[in-house]
C-alpha cells in the first residue's frame, strides 16, 4: 500500500507533457488537415479523375478490336499536334481507359490529350495544370507556397510523430498515476486504430522531403535510367506498358507492369537497351506512402486511416477544451 502511494506521488505525469501535446496539436491542426485531405485525395487521384472527367478517361471497349500500339499513338499525336513536343504517354491500364499524352507547346504550355485507343480519335484535351492530380499534388507537397510550404510539410510530418510519442508518454504517466488502464476516449480509440498509418505516411513523406525524391507516380524516375534508342525498340516483354517518358534530348524510358501484378510488385522499367530495370527506391517509398504496397485494399485502408487524422485532431482539441474547463462541483444532498 505504502509502495503504491509512493509510486503514485512520484510518477504523477508532468502537466507539460499534455500541454505540449495539446499545443503542438493545436498549432499543426490546419496544415495537417490540409496535408491529410490532399494526400487521401492523391491516393485515389486516378479514380477521382475518372469521377470528375469521365468523358475524357472512359471509352467503350465492347466489341472493339485491337487497341492502337505505341508507334501508332505517337504518330497520331504528332499528326494532331505537329509543333508540340511529346513529354509522356500514360497507356491504358484497363480496357475502358483512354491514352493520355502530355505535350509541351511552342510557348511552353503543357497540355494533356486524351485518345480513344480503339477508334483512333482525340476525345478531348486540357491544360496539364487543370487536372486533379496537379492541384492536389501542389497542395500536398508544398501547400502551394514554395520552399516555406515544403518546410512546413516536413515539420508537420515530424509533428505527427512527435504528437504520437507525446500522447503515448502522457498515457504512460496516467497509467502510473491511476495504477490501472486509463479511461480511453474517442480520441484515444482513433489513435489506436489509425496511428500506424499516420506514422508510415509521415516517416516515408519526411524521408522523401529530406532526400528530395518525388513520390508522384506520374513523374519520371532518375534521369540516368533514360537511354537513347529508336522508338520501335521500346517495349515491355511479357508485360503491359504503363507510362513512357521522353527527355528533351530524345532519350526515353518506359514503365512496364506484369499482367495481374499489384502495387510495385511486378513493375519494372525498360529503356530499349535494358528490358528489365528494377524499380527505384522512390517507387518503393511511394508504395509504402500510399498503401499500394498492399494493393487496392491497402490503398483503401491508408485512405480511411488518413481521413481519420483530422477527426482525431479535432476530437483531441475538443477533449483538451473539456478538460481545461472548470468542473462544477455537485453539492451532495443532506442525508437524513
Amino acid at each position: 500500500m505504502n509502495n503504491t502511494h509512493t509510486k503514485k506521488s512520484c510518477v504523477i505525469p508532468p502537466r507539460w507533457r499534455i500541454r505540449l501535446h495539446s499545443w503542438l496539436g493545436a498549432t499543426l491542426t490546419l496544415p495537417l488537415i490540409l496535408i491529410a485531405l490532399s494526400g487521401a485525395g492523391l491516393a485515389f487521384a486516378k479514380e477521382f479523375e475518372r469521377v470528375l472527367a469521365p468523358d475524357l478517361w472512359t471509352v467503350s471497349a465492347v466489341g472493339e478490336g485491337q487497341r492502337m500500339n505505341l508507334n501508332s499513338v505517337i504518330d497520331h499525336v504528332h499528326q494532331w499536334r505537329p509543333h508540340d513536343e511529346l513529354l509522356s504517354l500514360n497507356m491504358p491500364e484497363r480496357p475502358q481507359d483512354t491514352v493520355m499524352a502530355t505535350v509541351k507547346g511552342p510557348e511552353g504550355q503543357v497540355f494533356e490529350l486524351f485518345i480513344d485507343p480503339y477508334r483512333k480519335i482525340l476525345v478531348g484535351e486540357r491544360p496539364a495544370n487543370h487536372d486533379t492530380v496537379y492541384w492536389l499534388g501542389s497542395i500536398h507537397r508544398s501547400l502551394s507556397s514554395g520552399p516555406i510550404g515544403a518546410v512546413l510539410v516536413a515539420l508537420s510530418s515530424i509533428g505527427v510523430i512527435l504528437l504520437f510519442l507525446l500522447g503515448q508518454w502522457y498515457r504512460r504517466g496516467q497509467r502510473y498515476q491511476q495504477g490501472s488502464e486509463p479511461v480511453v476516449s474517442v480520441h484515444g480509440r482513433l489513435v489506436y486504430l489509425a496511428a500506424w498509418v499516420w506514422l508510415i505516411c509521415a516517416s516515408t513523406g519526411l524521408f522523401a522531403q529530406i532526400t528530395d525524391q518525388s513520390l508522384n507516380s506520374f513523374a519520371p524516375p532518375d534521369g540516368r535510367l533514360f537511354a537513347s534508342m529508336p522508338r520501335d525498340t521500346l517495349s515491355c516483354t511479357g508485360a503491359q506498358m504503363d507510362m513512357i517518358w521522353w527527355q528533351t534530348d530524345g532519350r526515353s524510358l518506359a514503365r512496364c507492369m506484369a499482367p495481374g501484378s499489384f502495387g510495385p510488385f511486378g513493375t519494372r522499367y525498360s529503356n530499349g537497351k535494358q528490358d528489365a530495370i528494377s524499380l527505384a527506391f522512390k517507387d518503393w517509398l511511394a508504395a509504402f506512402h500510399t498503401g499500394s504496397v498492399m494493393g487496392i485494399g491497402g490503398r483503401a485502408i491508408w485512405f480511411w486511416g488518413v481521413i481519420l487524422l483530422p477527426v482525431t485532431l479535432l476530437s483531441g482539441l475538443l477533449l483538451g477544451y473539456k478538460r481545461s474547463r472548470p468542473r462544477s462541483v455537485s453539492v451532495p444532498s443532506n442525508p437524513k
Binding site: 485515389f44 486516378k46 479514380e47 475518372r50 469521377v51 469521365p54 468523358d55 478517361w57 472512359t58 471509352v59 467503350s60 471497349a61 465492347v62 466489341g63 487497341r67 484497363r94 480496357p95 475502358q96 481507359d97 479511461v183 480511453v184 476516449s185 474517442v186 480509440r189 489506436y192 486504430l193 506484369a258 499482367p259 495481374g260 501484378s261 499489384f262 510488385f265 511486378g266 498492399m294 494493393g295 487496392i296 485494399g297 491497402g298 490503398r299 483503401a300 485502408i301 480511411w304
Partner: protein, 326 residues
C-alpha cells in the same frame, strides 16, 4: 420496447440488408450486369426499367454509345439484376435514415450513437453517389472495388451502434482484452487487404474477357498473374490469424464463443468457396458468396473488436448500455 432496444434491432436489420446488398452487388459483377442500366438514378431514362427492346428510347444506341450500347445488345435480365441492386440500395438508405433517427432519440443514453449512425448514413449516401460514378466511369474496376469496400465502413459503424446498445448483462468480461486483443484489428486489416486482392483477381478476369479473348474459360487460371498467387497465399494468413483468435478467445464468455463459432463457420465457408472458384473455374453463383463470406468475416471481427467489456463483479449501473472503456 425501450429506445435502445429498438435502435439495436434496427441497426442489426440495416446491417443484414447491407450484407444482402453486398451479395446482390457481387451477383451484378459476376453476371456482368453492371451496365444493365446505363444511367443513374433512372434506367434508360425511366423510373421502372424496360422489359423488352421495344420499350427502349429510340435513340438509346446513340445516347449511351460511350458506355458500349452502340454495339451491346439489350438484355432485360441484366437490366433487372442491376435494378434489384439499386432497389436494395434505396432500402438501405431508408433503413439508415430510420437508424439515424432512433440514434438521435437515444442520444441521452449514449452521446456517441447519433455520430455513429449519422456516419453510417453519410457513408451510405456517399456510396449511393459512387454507384452513379460506377456507371459514369463505364464500370472502371477500381471505382467498382472502392464502391464495394465502402460498405465495409458502413458495416463497421453499424456494428459499433449494435455493440453500444447491448444491455450491460451482455458485455464481455474485461479479461478478454488481455488475450492478445491487438490481433483483432490486425485480422481486420488482413481481411480488407485480402478482399481487395480478391477484387483485383476479379478485375483481371474481367480485363481478360474484354481484351485477351481467351478461347476457353479453363485457361483463365494461367493468365491471371501474380495477384492470384498472392491472394491464395493471403488466404493461408487469414486462416492462421482467425484460428489464433479462436484459440485465444475461446471460453472467455458465452457470447464470444458464439461469435467464434460463427467466425469458424465463415472461415470454413471461405475455404470451400475459394477452392470451388479455383477448381471449377469461377462459377457465377459462388463468386458473390465468396465476397459475402469476406464481408461476414469482417463484420464478426468488428464485433470482437467493438463488443463492450465489463470488469467482472463490478457492473456499475452508471455504465448501463455503454461500454466501460469509453
Amino acid at each position: 420496447m425501450n429506445r435502445q432496444k429498438q435502435l439495436h434491432n434496427m441497426a442489426i436489420m440495416t446491417m443484414l440488408a447491407v450484407l444482402f446488398l453486398i451479395w446482390v452487388g457481387g451477383t451484378v459483377r459476376a453476371t456482368g450486369a453492371g451496365m444493365g442500366c446505363p444511367d443513374w438514378p433512372t434506367c434508360f431514362g425511366r423510373v421502372v426499367p424496360p422489359f423488352s427492346a421495344a420499350d427502349l428510347p429510340p435513340d438509346y444506341r446513340h445516347t449511351y454509345a460511350r458506355l458500349g450500347y452502340d454495339k451491346m445488345p439489350f438484355d432485360p435480365v441484366k437490366t433487372w439484376t442491376e435494378y434489384l441492386n439499386r432497389l436494395t440500395g434505396t432500402l438501405i438508405g431508408l433503413l439508415s435514415i430510420l437508424t439515424c433517427v432512433l440514434a438521435i432519440l437515444a442520444h441521452r443514453q449514449d452521446k456517441a450513437l447519433p455520430w455513429l449512425a449519422g456516419g453510417a448514413l453519410g457513408l451510405v449516401m456517399l456510396n449511393g453517389w459512387l454507384g452513379a460514378v460506377v456507371i459514369d466511369s463505364n464500370l472502371h474496376s477500381a471505382v467498382v472495388t472502392t464502391h464495394m469496400m465502402l460498405s465495409f465502413g458502413v458495416l463497421f459503424l453499424l456494428m459499433a451502434v449494435v455493440t453500444r446498445t447491448l444491455p450491460s448483462s451482455s458485455h464481455q468480461p474485461a479479461r478478454i482484452r488481455r488475450r492478445g486483443f491487438f490481433l483483432v484489428p490486425i485480422a481486420m486489416v488482413i481481411t480488407v487487404v485480402q478482399t481487395g486482392l480478391g477484387a483485383q483477381v476479379r478485375e483481371r478476369v474481367d480485363q481478360m474477357g474484354t481484351t485477351e479473348h481467351l478461347t476457353s474459360v479453363v485457361s483463365w487460371l494461367d493468365h491471371v498473374g501474380a495477384v492470384l498467387n498472392v491472394h491464395m497465399a493471403g488466404a493461408l494468413i487469414v486462416i492462421i490469424i482467425n484460428l489464433w483468435l479462436m484459440l485465444r478467445f475461446f471460453g472467455a464468455d458465452a457470447r464470444v464463443n458464439w461469435a467464434l463459432a460463427v467466425l469458424f463457420l465463415i472461415v470454413i465457408m471461405q475455404i470451400l468457396s475459394g477452392t470451388i472458384l479455383i477448381t471449377l473455374h469461377l462459377p457465377t453463383l459462388v463468386q458473390p458468396l465468396h465476397l459475402l463470406g469476406a464481408s461476414m468475416l469482417f463484420t464478426t471481427q468488428a464485433f470482437l473488436l467493438l463488443a463492450p467489456t465489463h470488469v467482472e463483479d463490478q457492473v456499475s449501473p452508471l455504465h448501463h448500455g455503454r461500454p466501460t472503456t469509453y
